[in-house]
Subunit: 110 residues, 2 copies
DNA sequence: TGACTGTATGACTATTTTGTCATATGCTCA
DNA sequence: TGAGCATATGACAAAATAGTCATACAGTCA
């Protein structure tokens, strides 16, 4: 990606910081910003879900990767708010590794 | 797949009938059948979700396929209880086409 | 029976997602 | 500062998923 790294804290160097910006836009009232954000919203939410689930379990990307026979670089991609290729397969593996299960359903649109 | 076609009714010719058999096993008490069913359970549930959402919307596979710029054969595969490759991308497209949204979350395992 | 509609399946190609590895950056702490 | 850990990124190959088309099978109905 092209986003310059920030220097203030460890957390702010993560790609998920993009997701936070997106959510700011979504929760705000600027129609343009909101429209732009909507496109990437779903994927950003998934990225944040994974990040939150992992960090709450107090695991590093490498630890989680090892649990699911994957690689640290793969987890990093999945937590990248701009990544568009999340699969059920990976989400299920991650859920299982974290002692959770993946709940999926169609709900009426707001 | 190798399952022989049944001759009793239209519904019974669908691959989703496999999912019904799986659910029978899961809901039953036979430990062996249940263990065997568990492997394919998640995918079968997704297949049924898609089938139910589509038929409740009174659409044919072709109609749904057209809505998401896909093909009838693709929808058929997604509704096949033995299919293992469901993606978030497709589920989202289908949800949107049916006026729904996809709700995904990690929940504590039972 | 024959036409027509809906679904399943096979084969093959195209696209997308993962695996893998190398490496850069940022942070912490001695 | 230097070592070490955690994360991000790029590049490329491998594997998985979707697209496409042809066709078979089932059921319905005139």
């Amino acid at each position: 990606m092209s986003k310059p790294r920030q220097r203030t804290s460890r957390r702010s160097t993560r790609k998920t910081s993009d997701a936070v910006e997106i959510l700011d836009a979504v929760l705000g009232n600027d129609p343009k910003a909101r429209a732009a954000a909507d496109k990437a919203y779903d994927d950003a939410v998934i990225a944040m879900m994974i990040y939150q689930a992992r960090t709450r379990a107090r695991m590093t990307q490498k630890q989680l990767a090892d649990l699911i026979d994957s690689d640290q670089a793969v987890i990093s991609r999945l937590e990248d708010a701009n990544y568009r290729g999340h699969s059920l397969t990976m989400l299920r593996k991650i859920a299982r590794a974290l002692g959770k299960r993946l709940d999926i359903r169609f709900v009426d649109a707001a």
